[in-house]
């Protein structure tokens, strides 16, 4: 009885009988290549679909080859060969191949051994080197107790296979695609392929609906006239419903930057993770009902929708000439004061000269904020105290009307008919024109005030330099004595700085032989001697 061909790899084993095996970081025996044997093509497609859902096919495709092989002893199989990565990537391939009924082997060249499993966590190695006769296109896979050889019949291009795969139908939302565009993948963008005969009508309809669209004409293989490909950003549900139900119009959902699949269908492979499966710069349109894959020449170059529609309107605007010589003097009226019962916030007060003495006593009662916001202008009729006008207010409180005029119970109160235009209390300007126009009619500058002291007299213009702050006008000038600083008599004591003067060659002249003289005339000896 023949013995087993494989034996489990021990932990820490670094030398193997089979060529090409080497331990990875975890000590698992991994070869240079991987071999997956599928019984049918459908299983291979299922494997590719599952792998593209989980990882990127771009990692697998560059080293992947697909072969249709015949087994020695009868039977056919689909063999997938690819380069091996680390143990984690191979484990993923093993898990997915097991789920799709494939068998994973590792090795290199024409000899592969079984991938690791529960009984052999570090993989398998040959019990003894095998010398099976293998041809140029043959590979041998070694199981625990048997070895199988596969001879390649023909090779398949993986990219061609992926592009030729038939689309699978998927159900649409019961309420129509307009009820849930996100489910159909159309929330952000939708592509619309319009048959040549419907292009103009579709464009016109979408233009009326004010759809944000762009498009261009594409020449599909086999068609005589170019079809219209439209790109609609953030399509509205109503437009999608109309387009989906129209014969000759196909809605496609973009699945990657260069691929779009018709609504109601799904590609078996996740195209978003397989950009390398779509070579070149072309755009691929996978049409489910037609059963075709359209390869557009070059990347799509959409043109804004307003350049695609044709304007047929003939209406033109007519310029109107202004009637210069029209006479409007008959409309002019006089701006006058008239009595009114409408209450108005007092913004100033006119105090006659005999009452000014009383104002001096009232100043002590005025709050500081109101006092600082008040201005005064002396006139022949009396003293006008302006508080809280809208023009040149020195504080927010003044602009809000919190002024001395609200408090001073003297004289005649003035209200503000327009910004900076004061009228006596109980009177208003007639007609009631706009406040800004009132200032314009009175010819006031930006900082000027207008005072209507008396209905019978003409208004008075007060310029800003004529206004005096109330507090400054009332308080007498204080004379401050200048502070005199007393300079210190002497500088502060500081540590001295040694300055080494130049020493001559004969600096020690005189220290020759004479004995040093006694320092002090006291007879006591020094401390510590």
């Amino acid at each position: 009885m023949a013995g087993p061909l494989l034996e489990p790899v021990a932990a820490g084993q670094t030398r193997f009988r089979m060529q090409g095996l080497s331990p990875d970081a975890r000590g698992i025996a991994v070869g240079r290549e991987l071999l997956i044997v599928f019984p049918t093509l459908e299983r291979l497609v299922a494997f590719l679909g599952a792998y593209s859902d989980e990882a990127s096919l771009d990692d697998l495709v560059p080293t992947m080859t697909l072969e249709h092989a015949q087994r020695h002893g009868g039977g056919h199989a689909i063999v997938l060969r690819c380069g091996a990565g680390d143990g984690y990537a191979v484990d993923r391939l093993g898990r997915l191949s097991t789920a799709t009924r494939g068998r994973l082997y590792t090795g290199g060249g024409s000899m592969f051994v079984r991938w690791r499993e529960r009984e052999a966590p570090f993989g398998y190695d040959l019990v003894a080197p095998l010398t099976l006769p293998a041809g140029a296109d043959e590979v041998t896979v070694v199981e625990l107790d048997s070895a199988t050889t596969y001879a390649t019949i023909d090779r398949m291009d993986p990219l061609d296979l992926i592009q030729r795969l038939q689309l699978r139908q998927v159900p649409l939302p019961l309420g129509g695609i307009g009820s849930d565009p996100e489910l159909a993948g159309l929330k952000d963008m939708a592509l619309v392929l319009v048959a040549p005969g419907l292009a103009e009508r579709t464009l016109r309809h979408l233009w009326r609906l004010e759809v944000n669209m762009a498009g261009y004409y594409v020449q599909l293989a086999g068609d005589r006239n170019p079809s219209l490909l439209l790109r609609i950003r953030h399509p509205r549900p109503r437009a999608l419903e109309i387009l989906y139900g129209t014969p000759g119009v196909e809605l496609l959902a973009p699945v990657s930057s260069r691929a779009a699949v018709e609504i109601g269908f799904r590609h078996p492979i996740q195209l978003a993770s397989a950009s390398s499966c779509l070579p070149g710069e072309e755009m691929f349109l996978f049409r489910g009902h037609a059963g075709r894959v359209e390869r557009l020449d070059g990347p799509p170059r959409f043109v804004d929708g307003r350049h695609l529609v044709e304007a047929t309107g003939a209406a033109a605007l007519r310029e109107v000439e202004q009637l210069q010589e029209a006479e409007l003097s008959t409309l002019r009226v006089e701006l006058v004061l008239r009595p009114t019962t409408q209450p108005r916030e007092p913004r100033g007060v006119l105090i006659a000269w005999p009452q000014v003495e009383l104002l001096r006593h009232l100043v002590y009662l005025i709050p500081p904020a109101a006092l600082s916001a008040s201005q005064v202008v002396p006139l022949a009729e009396g003293v006008v105290v302006l508080t809280g006008t809208s023009i040149g207010a020195r504080s927010a409180a003044a602009a809000a009307g919190l002024g001395a005029g609200s408090i001073v119970p003297l004289g005649r109160r003035l209200g503000e008919a327009a910004p900076g235009v004061m009228v006596p209390d109980g009177w208003e300007l007639w007609p009631r024109v706009r406040p800004a126009l009132t200032r314009q009619l009175l010819g006031l500058g930006p900082e000027d005030h207008a005072l209507f002291i008396d209905p019978a007299s003409a208004p008075i213009r007060v310029r800003p330099e004529q206004l005096l702050p109330l507090d400054a006008a009332l308080i007498g000038r204080l004379a401050l004595s200048e502070a005199s600083l007393q300079a210190p008599a002497a500088d502060a004591l500081a540590p001295g700085s040694v300055e080494n003067r130049k020493l001559s060659r004969f600096a020690l002249w005189g220290f020759g032989g004479s004995a040093p003289a006694p320092a002090a005339d006291s007879g006591e000896s020094g401390m510590g001697q």
């Binding site: 002497a490 500088d491 004591l493 500081a494 540590p495 001295g496 700085s497 040694v498 300055e499 080494n500 003067r501 130049k502 020493l503 001559s504 060659r505 004969f506 600096a507 020690l508 002249w509 005189g510 220290f511 020759g512 004479s514 040093p516 003289a517 006694p518 320092a519 002090a520 005339d521 006291s522 007879g523 006591e524 000896s525 020094g526 401390m527 510590g528 001697q529």
Partner: protein, 395 residues
């Protein structure tokens, strides 16, 4: 070549006392000093006397200060000559080593002064020596292609600036303390002599005092209230106040008189007699003044909330240990020294003591408890045996 007294006072003494450029030139010979004392009018200069008074007022507000005398002049000349030994141009002087030793001997003679006769005399000496310790020096370092060249207290020659690696920014200036950068061994030896001549300076800067110094030499200052306050605050202002106190305490313990074991014998007739030497005062009041000042230093740091003893706890210096143990001797010494805090709860006017005084008393009590945990018991017992009986003498 000899300088007049007026020039010497203007160029050296006055800047030394008031700040400015202290000019250091060739060493002054003893015969130059003899020439100087022929005309002592510059010593009576009002400006100089006012400068001395201002310098003395940094210690006490109303110092008693005599006029400058010849001893003080000798001290100034000795300080000047001490600076000459650290002169950067000393190697270019044509002189043998023997001549330099003569200069050192002459300078030591200038600095060897008798024990001060009075507080005013000692204060006058401190004016010069204390200012001497504070002397600064402005060094210019020129960066050249071959390295840095340091010009110590001298202007840089223009040719050096032209040859510097970066003419505009190739030199920088540093202001250093002369005492810390004194390189000449002769200057270091003479500095000890100068410190020995001024007991007040030694008391104010005990870490720079010469070997064999005792705080008992300046006990008269510690008995004066104004000077004691100045000395205690000078100690407290030092960041290393524990080491300062430890130095004073160590010097005090080392200079305590050895107790007599028997009757003193008179020398035999004709035998050589001992030379008269400086006598260290050993009266109980003198020792008590030093111990009281050290305890007051503790109290000052408690008042300043700066009495951190964590670092000193690991010190094995017996002086530091004795210094830390001194406040714990208060129960035995309070009869002589009193207490930093009043034990009364009311003031002499009959009012209760303020809240601040109560807080200070609480902090002082906590500090003493902390010290009791920190100081080893043998240190206290040693002081009780060696120090306390010399202050509290029981018959």
């Amino acid at each position: 070549m000899s300088r007049s007294l007026a020039t010497f006072v203007d160029e050296f003494v006055f800047p030394l006392l008031c700040g400015g450029e202290v000019s250091v030139g060739p060493p002054i010979r003893p015969r130059d000093r003899d020439q100087m004392v022929l005309d002592t009018a510059p010593l009576m200069d009002p400006e100089l006397r006012f400068a001395r008074l201002r310098r003395a007022q940094e210690l006490t507000a109303d110092p008693m200060l005599d006029d400058p005398d010849l001893d003080e002049l000798s001290l100034w000349i000795g300080l000047h000559n001490t600076l000459v030994f650290d002169h950067p141009e000393r190697p270019r002087v044509w002189a043998r080593a023997t001549t330099w030793r003569r200069v050192e001997g002459a300078t030591r003679t200038f600095l060897s002064l008798a024990t001060p006769r009075s507080i005013a005399d000692a204060l006058a000496r401190h004016l010069g020596v204390g200012a001497f310790l504070q002397l600064r020096r402005r060094d210019t370092i020129v960066t050249t292609a071959t390295g840095d060249v340091r010009f110590c207290g001298q202007p840089v020659p223009r040719r050096r600036l032209r040859l510097s690696a970066v003419p505009q920014t190739g030199h920088r200036e540093e202001i250093v303390r002369w005492v810390e950068h004194n390189q000449a061994p002769e200057s270091q030896r003479l500095l000890e002599d100068a410190m020995r001549a001024s007991p007040l300076t030694c008391l104010l800067a005990p870490r720079q005092a010469p070997a064999g110094w005792s705080p008992l030499h300046g006990e008269s200052f510690l008995r004066d209230r104004g000077f004691a306050r100045a000395i205690c605050h000078a100690w407290a202002s030092s960041p290393a106040w524990i080491e300062v106190g430890g130095t004073v305490a160590g010097a005090l313990l080392a200079s305590l008189p050895i107790p007599r074991t028997g009757e003193a014998k008179l020398p035999e007739p004709g035998a050589p007699l001992a030379l008269p030497g400086a006598v260290v005062p050993t009266e109980p009041e003198a020792i008590a003044a030093v111990v009281g000042a050290l305890i007051h230093l503790h109290f000052l740091k408690v008042l300043e909330l700066d009495a951190r003893l964590g670092v000193a706890a690991g010190s094995r210096d017996p002086g530091v240990q004795a210094f830390l143990a001194m406040p714990l001797l208060l129960p035995w010494l309070s009869s002589q020294l009193g207490s930093p805090l009043s034990s009364e709860t009311v003031t002499p006017q009959g009012r209760p003591i303020s809240r601040q005084e109560a807080q200070t008393g609480r902090r002082w009590g906590e500090y003493l408890e902390h010290l009791a945990d920190l100081v080893p018991r043998p240190s206290i017992e040693n002081l009780l045996a060696a120090l306390v009986p010399r202050i509290v003498q029981t018959q």
